[in-house]
Symmetry: C2
Amino acid sequence: MKTTLTLTILAASAITLSADTLIQVATNAGLKAIPTDHAALMKLIDNPKNHLTPEKIELGKKLYFDTRLSKSNLISCNTCHNLAIGGVDGVSAAIGHHWTANPHHLNSPTVYNAVFMSKQFWDGRSPDLEDQAQGPMQAAPEMAITQKMAVERISSMPAYVAEFKKVYKDGNITFKKIADSIGAFERTLVTPSPFDKFLNGDEKALTDAQKKGLKVFIDKGCVSCHTGVGIGGSMQPFPAVKPYKYANIGDFKGDKNSMVKVPTLRNITQTAPYFHNGAVWSLSEAIKIMGETQLGQDLTNEEVKSIKTFLTSLTGKKPTINYPILPTVTETTPKPVTK
Amino acid sequence: MKTTLTLTILAASAITLSADTLIQVATNAGLKAIPTDHAALMKLIDNPKNHLTPEKIELGKKLYFDTRLSKSNLISCNTCHNLAIGGVDGVSAAIGHHWTANPHHLNSPTVYNAVFMSKQFWDGRSPDLEDQAQGPMQAAPEMAITQKMAVERISSMPAYVAEFKKVYKDGNITFKKIADSIGAFERTLVTPSPFDKFLNGDEKALTDAQKKGLKVFIDKGCVSCHTGVGIGGSMQPFPAVKPYKYANIGDFKGDKNSMVKVPTLRNITQTAPYFHNGAVWSLSEAIKIMGETQLGQDLTNEEVKSIKTFLTSLTGKKPTINYPILPTVTETTPKPVTK
């Protein structure tokens, strides 16, 4: 990676690049577009162990928005990963059951394009979205429900029972199937952007300022971590070069090289506050800090501004989602516990 | 009302009613259908002081779902009046900012068909939805935002500024205009049901059991309060005849005749728990209690069951709502306060 990067920097710096050369440089640097071809996209986002079907995605959407999957009846996946506001919650540390802040002061990462991350959670402890979805439902400071209560709640609603029967060969409702369905829906939350159009050959999809910013982004080495179709998503040491300015907030103390999942830069203008501990609200400040902490570079204000301009091209089109009408509780549905 | 009711009971009891006679009896008893004619519906739900326009409704929808209208960034109108689950929250007493329960232990009433209520809030202190919408945003145990912060938040997002300019002649964003827009959206949340079809002349829209239940509903006098197009919505003494069984929960102590807004019975099978204090989870129990408390009648199990069967015909078709993609915060947007 380092060698490729160095060569890329040399190549990009030496000449004023034409658009098609810049596409080549970006591609060589590892940046990839979300496929426009439906079959190619489906292949990329599918999980061989949990194949996508339209029925499973629809069921997963319902469960994603269903507050009855929390102990209190008040919190859904969408509470912290709100699809209306970039797939995040707009607060520094996630807040869940009984208004409890995340004990490690961790910020809710966006669910949009999370399918492109190599691992899930900031510490990468989960291999995929299906596995990840099991965590927050059960976590005491998040949705705080037991597997048993989740299954009992869903199983008590005839419309859900019928839908599970349609989606899964056996109608048996399990916690794993609930999470698998949610994971399937989340896999579809991809947001093609002007940058994807550009990578796919549409030279006019980026403004000149965005192209210039892309060049700075590549030249400075941001692309060494923020790469691939996720423009992020691998595990990397953090901080890599210099201490993290806000290491006093949350669990990553900055006194050693912790491995942290690189967040996607897709829709980054919509997902403040930034970093694993949500310590920074300004995208410009975030860019500057990353330059120092991860690349050992003191980016000029102009470079920061230019990179930020490129990042606006990563704001993508969100899938259209009909807000679901959920199955109705019955008298046997376990009651909410708000204490 | 009492005289009409007595006559209705006599008329309904004396003979086995044909469907068209039952429609007449129901109409005479004051039950009204949601108009099928678009112009008639618009006339019914419009507010002369806040005329509905498609642009205002769309803006109102965005604001209704916007969590940034709460102090914390975590609570929207939709949190307590969740359109996915009958326009309610599925908990006994509403829970808001910092997980504070409603201090009067009041249950969140459904927003669906709230436009048909003569007054808003359980105590009827608000004349319409535009006025009502101002309350929960500011209430400390709900969204807890100040008028100033609400206006600053919305004004800081260019996409909102543009949308307000399109909707209102002057582009000046005020707290009143925010609430007016939300109220406009809420006015559209009406849910035509099989019972409306029946009242409009489709005799087959109700099953025989539902027709029988409607007759019991009218005969027993439920219709004296649950009437009109809202099938509820007027202010009535509560308890009227006997003490309320759960008067120990919340502020209505049952030691005097308090005036309480009659909740709509539309979608009642979807809006548990019941009553102003959300004390009752079973619809059958709620029907039985109403018979005792309000009508002084000891309804038989069969009568309760029959009324409940009729009530299922009030479950209506919800409007299709595209989950909105909301304007993005900027660096000048006032930050959330979760404390």
